[in-house]
Point group: C2
């Protein structure tokens, strides 16, 4: 009675796609859309892999977790594969999200063009600041946080975005969870604690730049390091 987390169950049913693969499927989807726009009907793993910026073997392995949707000796049907990945990702439906915090970042997110074609719809905006409530941002009227529960229930929203300062993040997360949200994307520079069953992903703008700065530093100090390494 082991709870199988392996990609494949005993009966051969594909289940439990690895995290690393899930993170790449949207990239493949985008690449397939690009190919479809160019009128390409079919493609080999090499072409698709190049479009997606990954190694062809990795691409094939990733796709193999979904099933066998290619044709040996030929490649993949662009439209068919696109549909299969979209289905696996839950993109046959649109996902409504609520954004909490309509400062610079929240406003930018609500105006973001890239969402609509990826099955994401910004359905509601919420802010704690009374001076922002009632204003219109990207065509959506900003609601007070107090209405979060009602909004989430009424519109069946399950994904929330935290775009507030770090200090407010935990309180916002608590409110989102209490309102029934089960997936959170956190842009605030703070860790949030949530109960089991709620997923949180964190995007930290400073950290991305700090990581680049680290590599940058290593590049420019290569000489001194080389000396050290030779000496060791």
């Amino acid at each position: 009675m082991t709870i199988l987390r392996s990609p494949r169950l005993a009966d051969g049913t594909a289940r439990g796609i690895p995290d690393a693969t899930v993170a790449r499927l949207p990239v493949y989807l985008r690449a397939l859309n690009a190919l479809a726009e160019q009128g390409v009907l079919s493609c080999a793993s090499g072409e698709l892999a190049e479009q997606a910026g990954v190694n062809p073997a990795k691409l094939r392995k990733d796709l193999s977790y979904l099933g066998s949707y290619g044709t040996r000796g030929v490649g993949y049907d662009v439209e068919y594969l696109r549909y299969q990945i979209a289905r696996e990702m839950g993109q046959t439906q649109d996902w409504d999200v609520v954004i909490v915090g309509v400062g610079n970042l929240g406003s930018a997110l609500s105006a973001y063009q890239g969402f609509s074609t990826r099955g994401i719809r910004v359905a509601a905006l919420v802010d704690a600041d009374p001076s922002r409530v009632g204003t219109e941002v990207s065509g959506i009227v900003v609601s007070p946080v107090e209405q979060l529960r009602a909004i989430v229930a009424e519109r069946c929203i399950s994904i929330g975005v935290i775009a507030t300062p770090g200090e407010a993040a935990q309180e916002v997360a608590d409110r989102l969870v209490e309102a029934g949200i089960t997936s959170i994307l956190n842009f605030a520079p703070a860790l949030v604690q949530v109960p089991d069953g709620v997923d949180v992903r964190k995007v930290d703008l400073s950290i991305e730049l700090q990581i680049l700065a680290y590599h940058e530093q290593r590049k420019t100090s290569t000489t001194s390091r080389a000396v050290k390494e030779v000496g060791a």
Copy 2:
């Protein structure tokens, strides 16, 4: 004279800190800053790990790549460890960045409060749209892309941020590279090709939400899966 860092090459020479560790060091830095603000002078790996949201063993392993900065039986000196990580991350200096694209996202980034305390300074803004050039955003006058090379050279900038629509991303990347930039943070929903020696990190807002949507979808279809798993 053994300053060898843990991951060794075949000849015993120290290599870089693992990527996964580098990505967490800024998190530890933030946690240490929080502790320092609370007046905490010393902490054990367990406390710091909790603040940072990681397993204590992982924290200790990560820190071990930097050196032995703790005291057995005691823990870590908050200020000392903070300094050591900051030094390793290249945060003893501030890093100037140039943001290309002053739309909603670029404006939000240039106003982002979190950068200054993390050693990041938005030094210049650039846009291809003549109607934006000359306007002031977050106290910085927007320059035309044509001046990119001059700006980068004059201010010794090595990190660039792409905050344009996807279609412009590759051209902007080319211009950044040509201007002398060697690290790029790409927010555009497109892959960019760069020559060797240039680092690119990509943050894709849609993809983060799509990953959440995938897990969300699986949650709501748990019933059928549970049956399947028991059957296996």
